[in-house]
Symmetry: C2
Subunit: 413 residues, 2 copies
């Protein structure tokens, strides 16, 4: 029986080696992602189970019509595949009104990998296209509560990871980043209390699978992830009492937090946050590869050198190619399981070239080595550029992004 | 069957009218105090059950020897009757080292009653005698989580109640008062997280009786009441990393919070707080009187006029006297159940006069009206003086007590 757990936090942070077991359905929650079949997570079933909506052509057309831009390839290619209330957000845009973006990161690893960039790349595109303020929560408290790490270490990681996030290119004048540990207080804490008063142990048990042996920090934490959805948590940004709607781009495993948030919001007189959900980023070893506690080779890190990237892709990226050149030429490669092709779907912007590769690889005209060379080139360029931008992110710049302050945008009444 | 619930929060704040039931043992936790017999709480049994120690003559002698002062009448008369680790605190004093005091209040009522003053009167005496810093926590978050009140209202009550607390006469240069809602953050929040990580739902369920329908705010709250016990929560007062020992004067119903705190402290590398516990302050209707949700006449409030005090004592204070003067003269009054006499034990400082009254009342020489007249005079003077001091407590003075700042004391290495 296979354990189809997908690595989420980078190889060094994986803490649980669950017993291998046959699942009857996929497990997807903020701490465990495990497919019940070796084909990986069934995202269609997930939409049904979670009760979210598919990002369909009609929604993409609205995006295009309202922004005058081709939707980001993450949207076109179904990498962001599910949403909640996105039409309500687009209605606002249509009416000339603003919303704000909220996303976050649990800073558990010294070095982030390329998969960690996905929600931030999507978020930056949304910020640029809609010209809206953005709030980024670093849940250093969450990481401390769940992992065998010191609090001070988690807190430091929040600042280190913030540098990588800033290097994605967010507009400082429209972006506020904070560490839970250092920021909590004031209106934010008041909203945390309001959420906590309206959510029972039974509810978080049902949503998150907590049990009686869970520590009380874990039990209260969902309220802390919930409240950045409410603009009143940030009076220095949003002023007054007006409740500005929120859009949350995140991987689908974070949805339980926001199902809870959406459930409690109306009882507090707040608007429900809207969401767009991404699929998971596969490990180099494949979308259904086994979790490994100490495998630095399971992904491409933002600190990898050009040479490391080349080696990792060539050596570890699971191939959908055939065993021999002859067989490959004859039968073609399988893009459905080929990790290099999957990574190209994430990072190659040119739709035409991607389709060309798909056809050539599937037909056997392109060999695995050639496919990997395409990916290596793209990753090397992307990572080198990221590293270049990150170099210029000083502690002082981090401080500026993390300073509670007014942001440069106007909310139409 | 009697319901021997003792009113704790003032008549307006009582929220539960529990079904009357026969208890096999006293219930004493931060939200319920209910005696199993109509003689009131059995404090000796409570010491055994809680595993605390009796404040005995040997301890009082140490107090006297070390301070050169007669121990406060709350100590001499067994009003503060139980302790944990008080000898460790006195060892420090003996060695010329400092500790700090921590007490608090859940600000649920607009007007505090005289019973609410007991821990603060004790605390002031300890601050004066030992010349130590004092931290007073206003748990406005707790009151919001437990009561059907708005958060903003609880927060306002914290500031209103702080005025009455300040009027007790604490030395501003050695006293820091804070509202949880407004203060939480920084090192304080870090310690909250550390406690929360080391306490499970099972533990708070066992200690506090929470169940699966408890809101997650209640479940996490004990950590917030715990952390003022740790000096590292207040770096602006205690600086550096040295762990200064803490002494907590409180009513015995608060002990569950600090049993939990003492359990978790060593696992965080902190010292266990020491405690001294008081008995409960009886309602005018008697130590075993029935709880009433809207009875303004169950206690003497700090806002009562001289006339109201006189009326309430004369009309409502449960009497241990006999039905007729003749019978009273013959058989004498019962000080054990006479609320006016109980109140005199709390507030009459003169031991000699108190003993005289006890003898004269018990023998029938003193009538109930005369006993009540003694109490009325003492309460009128005490409340008038309190009201006079409270008048001078401006918002600006409250602000000064509540400003995070260094306090005027030295900690010997």
């Amino acid at each position: 029986m296979m354990n189809n757990k997908i690595e989420k936090d980078g190889p060094k942070q994986v803490e649980q080696q669950q017993l291998e077991q046959q699942l009857t359905e996929d497990i997807v929650d903020p701490w465990n992602v495990q497919a019940s079949s070796n084909k990986g997570i069934d995202y269609d079933k997930l939409i049904d189970r979670f009760g979210s909506s598919r990002i369909d052509d009609a929604l993409l057309e609205r995006f295009e019509k309202l922004t005058g831009q081709n939707p980001h390839h993450f949207l076109r290619r179904g990498i962001f595949f599910s949403h909640r209330d996105m039409h309500r957000i687009l209605n606002l845009v249509e009416a000339g009104k603003k919303f704000f973006l909220y996303t976050g990161r649990g800073p558990s690893s010294d070095s982030m990998h390329v998969g960690h960039l996905i929600p931030f790349i999507m978020t930056k595109w949304l910020q640029d296209v809609f010209d809206v303020p953005l709030i980024i929560q670093m849940t250093d408290d969450e990481k401390y509560l769940w992992k065998d790490l010191k609090l001070e270490h988690c807190n430091n990681l929040a600042y280190e990871n913030a540098k990588d996030i800033i290097a994605v290119g967010f507009d400082m004048s429209k972006t506020f980043i904070f560490s839970d540990v250092d920021f909590i207080g004031g209106e934010f804490y008041k909203n945390v209390l309001k959420v906590q008063k309206h959510v029972t142990f039974n509810q978080v048990k049902g949503i998150f699978g907590f049990d009686e042996s869970s520590n009380i920090g874990k039990i209260m934490f969902p309220a802390i992830q919930a409240v950045p959805s409410f603009s009143s948590s940030f009076p220095f940004i949003f002023g007054g009492k007006k409740d500005i709607p929120c859009l949350i781009p995140c991987a689908i495993d974070q949805d339980p937090y926001f199902r809870m948030t959406r459930d409690v919001a109306p009882r507090l007189g707040f608007q429900k946050p809207a969401l767009i959900h991404s699929t998971f980023f596969p490990a180099l070893q494949g979308a259904s590869s086994k979790m490994s506690a100490s495998d630095e080779n399971s992904s491409i890190f933002l600190t990898d050198t050009a040479n490391q990237i080349k080696k990792k892709v060539n050596k570890y990226a699971f191939s959908g190619g055939k065993d021999t050149v002859e067989e490959h030429r004859e039968k073609g490669g399988d893009c459905e399981v080929d990790v290099s092709f999957m990574y190209l779907r994430f990072f190659m912007e040119d739709d035409g070239r991607l389709e060309e590769i798909r056809q050539q690889y599937s037909s056997g005209q392109m060999l695995t080595g050639e496919l990997k060379a395409e990916l290596i080139q793209i990753l090397q360029k992307m990572i080198a550029e990221h590293q270049e931008r990150r170099k210029s992110v000083t502690d002082e710049i981090v401080k500026q992004y993390m300073m509670p302050r007014a942001l440069n945008f106007t909310i139409k009444k």
